[in-house]
């Protein structure tokens, strides 16, 4: 557009048309961009977001009680759960009928396992009555109340019935209560006794240990990033390899290296004994406890702190510090008042990244943590493998995911996801 004089004329003539054409071109551009993104976006939403969302829904789902015992729940409507009396004979008859069908469908044990999460020993209660119930004629063999109580006294306890009634709706907050160490007794929410309250303690431990690890990586990472950013680039690139090699080395390799090093008969104890710092019969316990997890995870996550710090520090012009010094600041003041504030974005980026990663760690605590170094992830895996309590897995997972998503959002705010740098 070298001739300015012709422009206004052109605008007046065709402005509507040009605007329309530009709009169309823009729309086409947007559409093309979206078409390129679509395959991946659909893949991630279907294969990743959807599975996680539906797993998390399991934390409130509770169809099984209603599906297995429809008649019993119907009958329980007339029963006053606040009274200390057992439900009437009709309820037991309904239960017998429900259980007969459930045994035939082979869903009785699944149901029993579900209720077992709420009432310890419920599986036994079902097993005891199972054989008899199968042979009963629901019309003729009553009354069932005394017979069932004879087979297992659990059927004669009001608590059992209150629990069945409490968990009869298709949705429940029971798993969330369990996830924060509470339980619903007689329709009221109570804390579990201290010897059973594991989850709050684990959440708390995961948070404070991740915080500590985050702080340690900052403490060790800051000097390294500072050094790398302030020496000749040629040297920095060489030293950077010492950071990148551990970063690229398999997580499992590094964890197993620490496992080997920290053992009672491992290299570190060997050295300490050899130089006489530690007696041979008093070797340090460095593994299968919190200390082992902290050492190993600090090492593993250190590059995730150094790299963002370094990329921010590289952009800090050295002239600022020089200016501060020429104006009379001593070394410390120049660093603390001029350099450090400019490196804060790097600290934020590194700290949130390390914290997010640490909170979700499973492998390292599992291998070097022992029972006292367990994180919440390990508890989730345990609930999965051993108890098969998927509702609780969902509830614990939701709480953890929410915490991580808040941090993720914060990270996006402070750093921007586009600015994540790798190596």
């Amino acid at each position: 557009m070298s001739t300015n004089a012709t422009e206004p004329q052109l605008d007046e003539l065709n402005s509507g048309q040009i605007k329309r054409q530009l709009g169309r071109a823009l729309r086409r551009q947007k559409l093309r961009a979206l078409l390129l993104i679509a395959p991946l976006l659909i893949f991630i939403i279907v294969g990743f977001i959807n599975p996680i969302a539906s797993m998390l829904l399991r934390s409130v789902e509770n169809n099984i009680v209603q599906e297995t015992l429809p008649r019993t729940i119907e009958a329980l409507h007339d029963w006053d759960s606040d009274s200390d009396e057992l439900p009437p004979e009709e309820t037991f008859t309904a239960l017998a009928a429900d259980l007969q069908i459930a045994i035939e469908n082979r869903s009785a044990l699944t149901f029993a396992r579900r209720m077992n999460f709420e009432i310890a020993g419920f599986t036994t209660m079902i097993r005891r009555v199972q054989r008899e119930v199968r042979g009963w004629d629901v019309e003729a063999d009553g009354p069932f109340r005394e017979q069932m109580i004879d087979m297992h006294r659990g059927w004669g306890e009001v608590q059992t019935w209150r629990a069945i009634e409490a968990y009869s709706s298709p949705y429940t907050i029971g798993y969330y209560l369990a996830a924060v160490d509470m339980t619903m007794v007689n329709g009221e929410i109570e804390s579990m006794p201290d010897n059973q309250s594991l989850h709050i303690m684990l959440f708390w431990r995961t948070i404070w240990m991740s915080g500590l690890i985050c702080f340690l990586t900052l403490l060790l990472g800051y000097p390294i990033a500072y050094l790398l950013a302030n020496i000749k680039e040629r040297h920095a690139n060489l030293l950077l390899i010492l950071v990148l090699l551990p970063f690229w080395t398999s997580l499992l390799v590094r964890t197993s290296a620490w496992k080997v090093l920290l053992q009672e008969q491992g290299v570190i104890n060997q050295v300490l004994v050899a130089i006489g710092l530690v007696a041979d019969d008093a070797r340090l316990e460095l593994i299968n406890n919190k200390l082992g997890v902290i050492i190993a995870m600090t090492h593993i996550l250190l590059p995730f702190m150094i790299l963002p710090l370094y990329s921010v520090m590289k952009t800090i012009p050295p002239s600022y510090v020089r200016a501060a010094k020429s104006l009379g600041a001593n070394d410390w003041t120049a660093f603390w008042r001029v350099y450090f504030p400019q490196s804060v974005p790097g600290i934020g980026a590194g700290a949130i990244l390390v914290f997010i990663l640490a909170v979700g760690y499973y492998i390292t605590p599992e291998l070097v943590g022992g029972p006292s170094g367990m994180f919440i992830s390990n508890r989730i895996a345990h609930q999965w493998n051993v108890s098969g309590n998927w509702g609780l897995v969902g509830a614990l997972g939701t709480i953890m995911l929410l915490a991580v998503l808040v941090l993720y959002w914060l990270y996006d705010r402070i750093v921007g996801i586009d600015n994540v740098k790798l190596g």
Binding site: M55, L227, H299, L401
Partner: protein
């Protein structure tokens, strides 16, 4: 950061003290790797340095743990699995990821921030949650315990890395080159493969390397989504470390450190090439 000649003794002390401190931290960073490599050549089944090893006596060293790795059917099965899963997962994440990254770097993308957040999320969500969710989903569609199930799950994990590296390369991409190509009569496909692709290739390959190492190194997802038939190298190591820890693990670890060095070298070469190419382009 050179020390000026007029530095006071305190400054001098601080200068050298700081370097010693950094040296110690570097030692901490490299220490596990430096120790585990020589230990894997131990002639004994110990996890410590034997007196023979410390005396540098050749009899203290042997390749027997490596021999065990290459002859043990369990480890070989695991290695074959890893080598067949990781490249396929890489292929899926690189092809879909590169397309999406090109889309994302266009000038007008609606909901760019939200889309980016979704695509990066597999990197952020704790692995155990992804693993549990994927288990149910892959069981429901019949992919749990199959080769393709593990490949797709690993591809999802690798995608954030591809997106990050390729979008970073595209930031410096000179868009007038594609316009020039189009004005000279090349179709979109030809422009993509002949003009755009060679220029962003370093980013694509380094994204691919990240995706590869992510899959090659991954344990949690494969345990949930795979079955014994898909037992990978990290899975086998995980079992070995949980139960009876055998020195063969050290040999595997040394081999994997070798692989990391290889990948790191490739990445460094790519980075240099990328810088050179960018230096030539007029932006």
């Amino acid at each position: 950061m050179a020390l000026p000649s007029y530095a006071s003794p305190l400054q001098r002390g601080w200068y050298y003290g700081f370097r010693v401190l950094c040296g110690l931290i570097f030692v901490f960073l490299m220490f596990p790797i430096l120790v585990i490599v020589p230990l894997s050549f131990n002639a004994q089944d110990f996890f410590t340095f034997t007196p023979e090893m410390l005396a540098l006596n050749p009899e203290g060293y042997s390749l027997k743990h490596f021999y065990d790795f290459f002859t043990n059917p369990d480890w070989q099965h695991a290695m074959r699995n890893s080598l067949s899963i990781a490249p396929m997962a890489t292929l899926v994440s690189v092809s879909l990821g590169t397309l999406a990254a090109i889309g994302l770097s266009q000038s007008h993308v609606p909901f760019r921030r939200a889309i980016m957040a979704v695509l990066i999320s597999p990197m952020i969500v704790p692995l155990i949650i992804s693993a549990a969710g994927m288990y149910f989903f892959f069981s429901a569609i019949g992919l749990q315990g199959t080769y393709w199930g593990v490949v797709l799950a690993h591809a999802i994990l690798g995608i954030p890395f591809v997106i990050i590296t390729v979008t970073a390369t595209l930031v410096g991409f000179d868009r007038s080159l594609t316009r020039a190509s189009a004005s000279l009569g090349a179709g979109p496909m030809r422009t993509f493969f002949k003009v755009q692709m060679p220029l962003i290739l370093p980013g694509v390959i380094s994204g691919g390397l990240f995706a590869f190492i992510t899959s090659f190194d991954e344990v949690v997802i494969v345990i949930f989504v795979g079955s014994a038939g898909q037992r990978t190298l990290p899975w086998q190591m995980f079992i070995g470390l949980r139960e009876q820890i055998s020195p063969t693990i050290l040999a595997v670890a040394t081999l994997m450190v070798g692989l990391s060095i290889l990948l790191l070298t490739m990445l460094e070469l790519l980075r240099r090439r990328n810088e050179r190419l960018r230096g030539m382009s007029p932006t």
